[in-house]
């Protein structure tokens, strides 16, 4: 049996294709093991060294990580929803109902997307509270706090733009009220409302704009900001130390 496994593993790892992907042999030294993490594009986000204190669950409650996990879940559930959802005033509500009642696993995907979105707002807020209460925003992490504030705004923006897409009464009036709030901004308010909903009232223009913001503009901005956020955690010396 062990002989078969040995032959099989040699068959898989001994050929040219495998060796073109994984150039080095499996590392045996500790230095080699940390380098294999450090030099891998997918794994290099992990620090080479981790302080034992920083791993204590009650210090971070994994809130940043959970927020990121929920963001990934939102992308994984959101992209399939795009195959059925049609952002037009005639079809939006119907395609949302189709996802709930006609499409296989549509209800599951839509509800996962919805609940993950609610949860992400909560975990992002709690993550910010944790960073504040542990004083982790202090030098040298001030800039990463600012990046985090932008990410909070993007999370709320994604939440708000997604709110309109079911095109039901709740969505319509929520966006009517929300964009009216935006129009109270001095001087620029009315123009901002006009350009945000693409007209004077919430209609086809608003639905399409919110759809594009929700599925392209804001997720892309969030991914770029997250890359900067995670990179800065490493460059600022890992997550902050418990006192």
């Amino acid at each position: 049996m062990t002989e078969i496994i040995r032959l099989l593993s040699r068959f898989i790892t001994g050929n040219r294709v495998w060796k073109s992907v994984f150039r080095a042999e499996s590392p045996v030294t500790e230095r080699g093991q940390s380098e294999s993490i450090f030099h891998n594009v997918w794994l290099h986000i992990y620090p080479v060294k981790v302080r034992k204190d920083a791993l204590r669950f009650t210090y971070t409650f994994c809130l940043g990580g959970v927020s990121f996990l929920l963001f990934l879940l939102l992308i994984i559930t959101g992209v399939p929803l795009m195959f059925y959802y049609v952002p037009s005033v005639e079809q939006a509500y119907g395609s949302m109902k189709d996802l709930e009642f006609v499409v296989s696993y549509g209800l599951l995907l839509r509800n996962m997307h919805r609940w993950a979105a609610h949860a992400m707002v909560i975990t992002v807020f709690l993550h910010m509270a944790r960073v504040f209460y542990t004083g982790s925003y202090k030098s040298p992490r001030e800039f990463n706090w600012v990046v985090g504030v932008f990410l909070l705004a993007l999370t709320l923006g994604l939440s708000f733009t997604g709110y309109l897409l079911p095109w039901d009464q709740l969505a319509f009036w929520a966006i009517t009220v929300g964009t009216s709030i935006a129009s109270y901004v001095p001087w620029l308010g009315p123009s901002f409302k006009y350009v945000l909903i693409g007209g004077n009232e919430v209609g086809q223009g608003a639905l399409l704009r919110f759809y594009v913001l929700h599925t392209v503009v804001l997720p892309l901005a969030a991914v770029l900001m997250m890359a900067a956020h995670f990179w800065r955690i490493r460059k600022d010396g890992g997550i902050s130390k418990p006192l």
Partner: protein, 162 residues
Amino acid sequence: MDHSDKTSPSEAKPMGRRDFLTTLGWGALFASIASTGAGMIRFLFPNVLFEKPTRIRVGRPDDYSPGSVTYLESSRVFILRNDKGFRAMSAVCTHLGCTVNKDAGSNSYSCPCHGSKFDENGGVVRGPAPKSLSTCEVTLAPSGHMVVDLKSFVPPNHYFRV
């Protein structure tokens, strides 16, 4: 080339060709970025809208009995008729744009979204609405139909008389 420089160093040095072209190059780059950005922003403001018309025909004056309050749902406007004449009172709440409802059994109005209350003339009784409900201009078309302009406002004591 720089003959004047050597003879009179106190005089302001004219810009050299290299500096001039460098400035021109950077200036052209930033000007093109700025104009592209301005064009992008302008692009987002639509010039043509496919929205409901804001001037609407609401029927003949005789269609409304004296003392009546009629709500026209598609235009979000109340047509009020009393002994002074007609008023077209907008049902759009002045707070955040929800539609106000006429209270059952009284002539007051309330907003379902944030609880603003208005009296029979649309004046604010209870906030958060900052302003009274707007009164839209009513005119008479040659056909004898009344026309309400939802974007043209008149003072609340202004009545349309036939």
